[in-house]
Subunit: 664 residues, 2 copies
């Protein structure tokens, strides 16, 4: 099976480009595909707050609910802000494009670098966490955790390479199953707590309030801030939809915005509900039993629904990785389009997804998994910083955009680089909300960096500037290319002269080199055959054969270079360089390289790689054109056939010469 | 620093080919370089016998001396036989060539395969044993044993790549120091034992004779045979000199034979002396203290000489690897010359050694070290089989050769494929000795295979036929090549027709593709430019530019292929194949491929590898000539300069076109 049909088997039949619209997502699939990360955050965001508060003593856990409500409010603000982004930038591109259009290129590259690192970490953290859940259930699998995590990445990569619609269908079930399961638990919990629907209120054990540990004013405030920052993990992935607006069926922006709204409502409902119940059921974070698991068990017992929630929690943790797989390639596309990433990140694959970006992400996240040995706790200090950088920048951008909008008169429009602005009635409110969001997410960013710096956040603080430098270097190279290739002011006929000379390096005279010589003679009247001879016998042998083919050789010049070392390419290369520099400094010269092509790779390795090495060296030499004259070596049977045909066609010349095998 | 000067730094200045004779070895260096393996065997051969005999009870250790004497006799016979080989095959090639000339190709390939595996194992076993000695002395190094062994291989490789004379000088000191040290200990020991030179005879503790364990007749004989076979490790490496006759100064054969004789005398003296003293001092093999160490301590105490012997034993164990480094590349050369190994094994490197073989050996032995984790005890069952195969075959060959000699009349000569035979007076004696040697080494081979088969000898029993199959496949390929290339019956002018057509695949029209087009027009009047267009805009853009350069484009034909998928090379390739098969089935067609050359590898990776992929695919297609038209991308500053020059030279044409960056 050849490469192409193997690829079809794995990835599926290629889609024609014209089918792109057909591959778009409806809201149901769109929610499943983009929202797995933000929705899955609810599985642990409440616990993240409580894990910080417990430092103040279990009595302080009562603060969980107010903090969670504030975060839910922040989620609302950020979602509102991103809906504005979507409506103003219906082509997608999210934080990167809105920042570029409003704050300039460098801030937008900062946003892009921050997001890319975060997407990579999303994948690594999610699969590691998912595999930890799996190996907790089946401890025999523990030694294979890294392999399992890599296999999970491979699986998600494969599904994503099969196309966005197919992956949407596959990922829909677990996402909705998780949402339904947790919502049911929350509803039953609330009913039991308030005694609704005639259900008897559940008994709640009174909290065993420890003496609150004494913290002075600043330390206390700092701990509350840290609890808040920790809970902000609930925000991760919220921006996902704004990147991929174009993945939705038309009207793209409206569908994306609606999906985002639904996602926000679901996320806030889950987060608020879990936090309310966790506080009022007096749950305490424990190392071996998650808050979500404790809550579910307290409300519905050890039954079917409990295992449902547990199972789909594990699944959605792994699927959160998919958000990274959606957004990394799309952001890569926008960066590549602007020349900041390799242009191949723009190429659509067989199934109309950005295969290059998908594979790059799979590779990079696998590296992280291997480096951190699939230990997500070690990765967490690096995580969620990037997303806060992007939130801050894109909300700040919206502030600036809304100020411009505010200056317009009704009916008036203004074009920016990437969009068209109209007057909007509520511009001031929108501006203020985005402003508040920007300030809060910026504070969260500072708190995260400050608390996690030594544990690993420094890696990100170093990586982001490096990425920005890389973006700018790539852009510089593409500018160089455009500059070198531009045809403006170019007068057609005078590009560069081609010199009337052809050099043919040979090792021996045989059918392969004769073919090259024949081709060279068609190109030019000045054919120079170069042969490096290491011994007198070799030289005589070459000369004798040269003289046997006067029809081919009489107008060509044979240059034998006697050489007392063994690196025969050196004098050949010197000869070519000499001709180029001394005789034709401003023209293109041509080198014809005879080359054997063996039927298999194994046999190809049996030959000196002279032709390959020579070609590689000549490529680096401007002004030299290389022509490969391939000579295909057939297996013996095939060679006999051909030889027979030739002999049938040509009257036999009786020569009893002894022929040595070719020297190459 | 570029590759070539870096290589000079490491390997040294290249030697001219004419200096080859100067790099030859005198007998002192020759002994050091070839004999480290057979001489070092004496460090453990006696112990190998005793380790088997101890199974019969410590009383049976008295049998060590007679067995050792028999082995010393065998050493003598084998050395005598190989001296005959050297004198009859003064070009070298040892067991392989003598077998080929007398028993035929297949037996000679068996000998070669057996020797090659043994040389690889010599290296792996020696460095592993040496590093074990080192880590025994410095247990802190134990965890790094594999790395240390690999480093030792690297070091020996490096020294060997620097030339045979230089390595001879470096390896001479430890070899002679070992010989002198052990000989001194043996002489002092004998003097003390017999009370010579007025030295008081040493007191010897009477042996604590255990009750001899009961073994029935067959088992007893079998154990004696095993002890004998184990002691035959003293024979390993004896053939080394016969492979490398050509490494000696002229008269090569005489010098090689004399060196071999000296080596034999040294080896037999050491082995006999150690075995005599080990038996008469009533030494018993112990796991933590080698027999050689016990003997030295018993004779000269814990003083300087004891540490001298210990230190140089360790060193010569490592240096035994060097015998492999001498013979593997030389045997590789002979095999390559006959077409059974890749021809690059024949290439002399900068320092006139067979660099290819040296590097191949370093690689293969490193693999063995890694697989066996530098545990030489695990490797030993694989070791020493090959050498016995080769001994048997080359002595059997000598029997056959002497029979031919015996049939000659005095003064008469007969030519074989590789040598000339004269009448020899003592042919019968020589034939009988070689015959006895062949039979004994064959028995040893059977015993070794039988006793070690399950422990690992099966690997060798499987590997050798595979190697022979590989040799024959390689030869078959070279025969195919010679057949394909042969010029016999070839009438010069009619090799193959070159079709008057040139195809130029392009992605866009820019300086690079225009240069390709210009070159193509020089080649043919029928230039077909192929452009795969993925959208109407792209097509319009290409057409607009096409029409802007009528001087270049008016005689060429532009073929735009509308394509609804993204693998743009597919239709290009189909187009080329179509032209080839339908229009010019029996001629060579030409494809001109425009290609960007970036200044660095990193920037090269930023471009689609279309040109490379296309070239690779076209190579597999017989009858297609590929011409690369390189276009060098300069960094911005350089590009501005060039562009400035162009603009200075050409009157500016005012065109306000918008140019998009190139699509490749």
């Amino acid at each position: 099976m050849d490469y192409s049909s193997l690829k079809r088997r794995i990835i599926g039949e290629p889609f024609p480009s014209s089918m792109e619209a057909h591959e778009r997502l409806d809201k149901i699939r769109g929610l499943a595909i983009f929202a797995s990360d933000p929705i899955s955050s609810n599985a642990y965001a409440t616990e993240a707050i409580m894990s910080v508060l417990i430092v103040l003593g279990s009595g302080a856990l009562a603060l969980t609910l107010p903090i969670a409500l504030m975060i839910a409010l922040l989620v609302g603000i950020v979602i509102f802000s991103y809906i504005q982004v979507i409506m103003h930038y219906p082509e997608g591109g999210g934080g990167y494009r809105v920042t570029k259009d409003n704050l300039g290129t460098s801030p937008s590259l900062l946003a892009a670098a921050a997001l890319l690192t975060d997407y990579i970490l999303t994948v690594s953290v999610s699969v590691s966490a998912g595999m930890r859940a799996l190996t907790s259930a089946f401890p025999a699998l523990r030694p294979y955790q890294v392999i399992l995590a890599l296999a999970a990445i491979l699986l998600i990569t494969w599904i994503n390479l099969r196309g966005v619609r197919e992956s949407g269908s596959i990922f829909a079930l677990p996402t909705y199953a998780f949402v339904v399961g947790v919502l049911l638990v929350v509803l039953v919990g609330l009913s039991k707590y308030f005694g609704l629907f005639g259900i008897a209120p559940m008994e709640i054990t009174a909290p065993a309030i420890e003496a609150q540990r004494s913290f002075t004013g600043f330390a206390y405030t700092w701990l509350l801030l840290r609890a808040f920052a920790a809970g902000c993990t609930a925000l991760t992935g919220i921006e996902a939809i704004s990147d991929g607006v174009k993945a939705f069926k038309p009207p793209e922006a409206a569908n994306a915005a609606k999906t985002m709204l639904i996602m926000g409502i679901i996320a806030m409902a889950l987060f608020g509900g879990i936090s309310f119940l966790a506080t009022h059921l007096n749950l305490v974070p424990a190392e071996t039993d998650s808050i979500l698991s404790q809550m579910a068990r307290a409300i519905v017992g050890d039954g079917f629904l409990y295992y449902w929630v547990q199972f789909f929690t594990m699944l959605i943790l792994v699927l959160a990785a998919n958000t990274g797989f959606q957004d990394f390639p799309r952001l890569g596309y926008f960066l590549a389009r602007d020349g900041f990433m390799p242009r191949w990140m723009m190429n659509l694959g067989d199934r109309l997804v950005y295969s290059g970006g998908i594979v790059a992400l799979a590779f990079l996240s696998s590296v992280i998994v291997i480096v951190f040995q699939a230990d997500e706790f070690a990765m967490l200090p690096l995580y969620a910083l990037g997303v806060m950088v992007s939130f801050t920048l894109s909300q700040a951008s919206m502030v600036k955009l809304m100020r411009k909008v505010g200056k317009l008169n009704p009916g008036e429009t203004v074009d920016t680089a990437a969009t068209t602005l109209h007057y909007e009635k509520n511009w001031l409110g929108k501006m203020l909300l985005s402003g508040i969001g920007a300030v809060i997410t910026f504070i969260v960013l500072i708190v995260l960096v400050a608390t996690k710096f030594i544990d690993g956040a420094w890696v990100i603080v170093l990586t982001i500037p490096l990425l920005i430098w890389m973006f700018k270097s790539i852009r510089m190279h593409y500018d160089d290319v455009a500059e070198s290739l531009r045809t403006r002011n170019l007068i057609g006929s005078k590009l560069i002269e081609v010199a009337d000379v052809v050099i043919v390096p040979i090792g021996d005279i045989h059918r392969g080199t004769l073919r090259a010589l024949q081709y060279a003679r068609r190109l030019s009247g000045d054919v120079r055959v170069v042969c490096v001879t290491l011994s007198d016998e070799q030289k005589e042998h070459v000369l004798e054969r040269w003289n046997r083919f006067p029809q081919l050789t009489d107008h060509a010049q044979l240059v034998c270079i006697d050489y007392d070392y063994r690196d025969v390419l050196e004098p050949v290369f010197d000869f070519i360089q000499n001709v180029k520099e001394n005789e034709f400094p401003d023209e293109l010269i041509t080198v014809v390289v005879p080359e054997f092509i063996s039927p298999t790779l194994a046999t190809q390795l049996l030959h000196n790689q002279s032709a390959n090495v020579l070609r590689a060296r000549l490529r680096a030499q401007p002004g030299v054109i290389v022509i490969d004259i391939p000579f295909h070596i057939h297996s013996r049977m095939r060679a006999r056939e051909i030889s027979q045909q030739v002999e049938d066609a040509i009257p036999t010349v009786a020569t009893a010469e002894a022929e040595t095998p070719a020297s190459e």
